[in-house]
Subunit: 344 residues, 4 copies
């Protein structure tokens, strides 16, 4: 369909074949709606097992912004805002969804897309020590993404420190796992699903970018974290009538450990591309080990390379330079990777 090589994002294909075959096999079976079906139940059990969180409450929503908005609205009280990296998806690329829900995003300066436990603690202390704090939005939760918007990873130790700060301050920690499969497939990663369940109050396991047609699985590792979350999902327009379609996809993704391995090809391909870029003298904009590669190019270089490869625009650096993003997906082939490297 495309004549150019396509490396703009990890949501350009359909779904992993096992999902399509599950859809086909079960197509005319009948099940109840709104996620009360047995496919969703099975998926929940598999996710609980993978997370070693037998009490976890799990909901299937259709996309990332929707999930972030619904979870954040549910976790915050009206006088609270959400701490996030200033580069975080909710801070930048969700069209004001969090604010539309009534909450301020409290941005912390990021480093390679990440924030630190120290910065979070300082932010909480600053609020507490501010004599005008009752006139100020109270920091009410922390939002991270893993991998981050820049493709970087938190270490388990960093996540433990962030979790400890949140817990000692009595606020929830929420992790956006839109690309979580690419973290799990990455040798540099030491954060497991059970770690997330242990350290977070809520997180979501991304489906859309990780092999599903669509869908994200929200996990509340502990019971009753949010009362009436089902109704909030409905109110946010995030409740799927045919909830089974999302549930069944996660059932497939969590069968035989697929979710932990589905990103491996993308990670390998990204590694090869990164090595080739460095080899040919390109400038990587950030150090990042997962399936996203950011390169700083002159506008001429960007235009030339873009004739052969579809990448995604990331940002204008200055009058002469831009950052473009190359993304590999679970479906990338060696042949595509070879062709891309040949273009560099």
């Amino acid at each position: 369909m495309y004549t150019k090589l396509q490396f703009a994002s990890d949501y350009m294909e359909g779904a992993h074949p096992s999902i399509l075959s599950r859809l086909a096999e079960t197509n005319l079976l009948k099940s109840s709606g709104y996620g009360t079906d047995e496919f969703s139940a099975a998926a929940r059990e598999k996710i609980r097992a993978a997370c070693e969180a037998p009490e976890a409450e799990i909901f299937f929503l259709s996309g990332g912004t929707q999930t972030n908005r619904t979870v954040i609205d549910a976790l915050l009280r009206p006088y609270q805002g959400v701490i996030a990296a200033d580069s975080g998806h909710i801070a930048v690329h969700e069209a004001g969804a969090i604010e539309a829900g009534g909450h301020k995003v409290l941005p912390l300066p990021h480093r390679n897309g990440k924030i630190t436990a120290e910065a979070v603690r300082d932010c909480l202390d600053a609020w507490r020590q501010d004599e005008n704090r009752d006139h100020v939005v109270m920091p009410g939760m922390v939002y991270l993404s893993h991998p981050t918007e820049f493709g970087t990873l938190y270490s388990r130790k960093e996540l433990e420190a962030l979790s400890a700060v949140c817990r000692s301050n009595g606020i929830p920690l929420y992790v956006d796992g839109a690309r979580l499969a690419y973290a799990l497939a990455c040798p540099e990663n030491d954060v497991t699903l059970p770690d997330l369940a242990r350290l977070c109050d809520a997180f979501y396991i991304g489906g859309t970018k990780c092999g599903a047609l669509f869908g994200e699985a929200v996990v509340f590792p502990r019971r009753d974290t949010v009362p009436h979350f089902f109704t909030l999902v409905k109110q946010h327009g995030a409740l799927l009538a045919k909830g089974r379609i999302a549930g069944l996809q996660f059932d497939a993704l969590f069968t035989d450990g697929l979710y932990k391995t589905i990103g491996e090809g993308a990670i390998r391909a990204a590694g090869r591309i990164r090595a080739a870029l460095l080899d040919k003298g390109y400038t990587l904009s950030f150090e990042a080990p997962t399936n996203q590669i950011f390169i700083t190019l002159t506008r001429d270089q960007a235009a030339a390379l873009s004739e052969k490869v579809e990448m995604s625009f990331w940002e204008n650096v200055d009058a002469d330079h831009v950052i473009l993003r190359i993304v590999t997906s679970w479906a990338v082939t060696e042949e595509e990777t070879d062709r891309l490297i040949a273009c560099l």
Copy 2:
């Protein structure tokens, strides 16, 4: 999977086979995200043709509540509310989604799920003539569903009258077509897609209940009805990253006129069931010609019938009586219908 007969709703199966085969055929093709792909473009062209609305702007969202909330938020100004039947989906079964968006639902008493042009005009006149109107929510648009929540249909003439009242008052008319295919397949219906495009300012063509895995197609028949609607969709968490998955389903549903015929089996089955119910002395709660049948039963009758057939609970009438709903779907088989009739 179920041992009981399943007639609780029209979203219990997967999708029409032509959708599944389109998904399979195109699965590994790459396309751009957020509805900018060629599958969505093709679907839009087919819908424009079917609606005889060559200028129509069309967006694919994932579910009905989401669609209603996003469109209504986009059409209203903050000082306005939406007129709807007091039985309307937005008035009752969307968990306060419209209010969560900041707007009051202005309920009019329904008759068999419908409201009239006269009642709308009276509501608008009452606001205009109220000396306290500046302290009152201004009626800013009209919401209808076709078919209604009760399975009833507006006639073209009724819709023309409603449209005329809206236009002479300068407010938009919006039609929720969650089950539109069942109207189009119904001999009693004389409202066509071109009629909707001509008479409404916005409407949606339901996919979820009409053969898709999920998805609703919002149609603004005239250009620039809502500026920046794309951003509003994103902000509402209603923008699908893999927009192609929704687009492709509508492409399939609008190929060879499928959408106009997909509901025919359901209508025939509902007709047979309705006749059998009357024949056996049951009380139909409302007169309705589409794929929903409402029966008023004693609690004992309800319990007995529910052992054999899964229906959906509609409402408590009084201490002794309930209304249950039987729904047929595009996927219903003659054999299932026969078995249901045998249970009555």
Copy 3:
């Protein structure tokens, strides 16, 4: 200033003289802002004493709609709505303020402006017994006004029954006392300030209509009913920088029991007017013992009477009839009342 007699409302004059003299006496004293001043502290102590609620938390806001919106937003969770009479101020005359805060007003049919404990219980039971309740707004609190919009009064027994229903269902009861002084001054009233403190979770003592320049005192009889209410007040734009101006007015109103007696002249005047109206064959629209009188008139009668007396328009009854409202205020004089009676 006016040549016509003025009986349109109870907010047409300035303030009780004792308020003006307190303002003048204290004008150049300095005090801290945002309600942390000693005038507000003194007012709080007097209100706590009058309510026999030594633990009460008390805040001074500037107007009724603002108070209702702020308190209701603070008491409800996002999935909840507020039960109110369909004639209630929040349901009708606050321009959608409650919905703008994200919450549905759940209207119950009123009788003379009142709702009953039975109707509230039925509403709560209906929600609980609705199999679709998770798709429906949960009733999360009850709003009453005392006196009501129709000038009627709850009896202590009725209020006790309402309070009992709320408590057995775990939801708060909130009373809007915009005209509370007129209840307290009315012989028919048996609901005292300590009763309100005992039976409600929140209520407000109206100043604007009861002798103040502006201001309403929100009372939470029990500590920590709402965490961070100060910040919510600020966020709603309801925090007065010079909080002392409101505090000082309530200090004056609660000095020497003024608030309990300030409405007595208005009640006496209303009694005389009501008797005169009946005597002259007018039709009272509702039975109500406080300072509001509603009369049903033909449009011709209304026009004729309106030439001599300024009243307020209440509603159109039918093509030929309207309801007008006569209101007496704390500042009404016998002479004005005599002149009004002479016009009838």
Copy 4:
């Protein structure tokens, strides 16, 4: 009442004597509600004349946060945010009021509390040139304060440049004049009321901090800038039933040019204090010519000085230093100023 000298803010006293005498004179006159009275009408005429804006629409609200929230909600569409200095009142000290209304504050780095036309233009250009702009909050208006939070002033030239950028981009410019009287009384200021009316789409003339008991006058210099603004004021809880109380205060403030001179004493006192501080070797945190003075102190110095003078805490600079704020008000006396200087 206080034993310490009070220089914490400009809202510690009551009102200018001419306001109290106007309140007393008119107290028992009757007038209609909600700002439809003749006192408010007179105040509007005087403000129109002072602004040389004969078509201006003017509304009286009760406080600054309320005014900012109501005006900003009215000027923005849901997909838009408001550009402001990162030190702006709406960005920092309004408890998330703007976000609670659904809008993101888009912060620009301030310089002494100010932003520049260039920075605004760059922000607008960046949005326009961002290929992902439809996923991003659109900058929809500009918010300034004059004087700023830091007591600094825009020059007429700077304001003209900001206005020109806004107009060429089709977005409104709004100026928060909470302390406008102190700008008008300041020799360094060259921005007049007619300048504001000419260059802004909306601004407010502060009363609370400039001699009123409370109240801010919103001015829309051109007709129909915001349709149904009255209803939006009501919905935001910002409509005063006794609108006359606010109107009458502005009538007094705009009689005989009082508003232009009321701040003069404060400016003189601030000048003397500033000179004395520099003379005694204190460090001024920012250069600012109006009635706010910011001093950077060690914590020990701050504690010592705070024993004698009540100032306001501004912010923690580092572990050892804080910034405190001294504010003079319209009511400051020479004797108080002398005593403060003696304490330094």
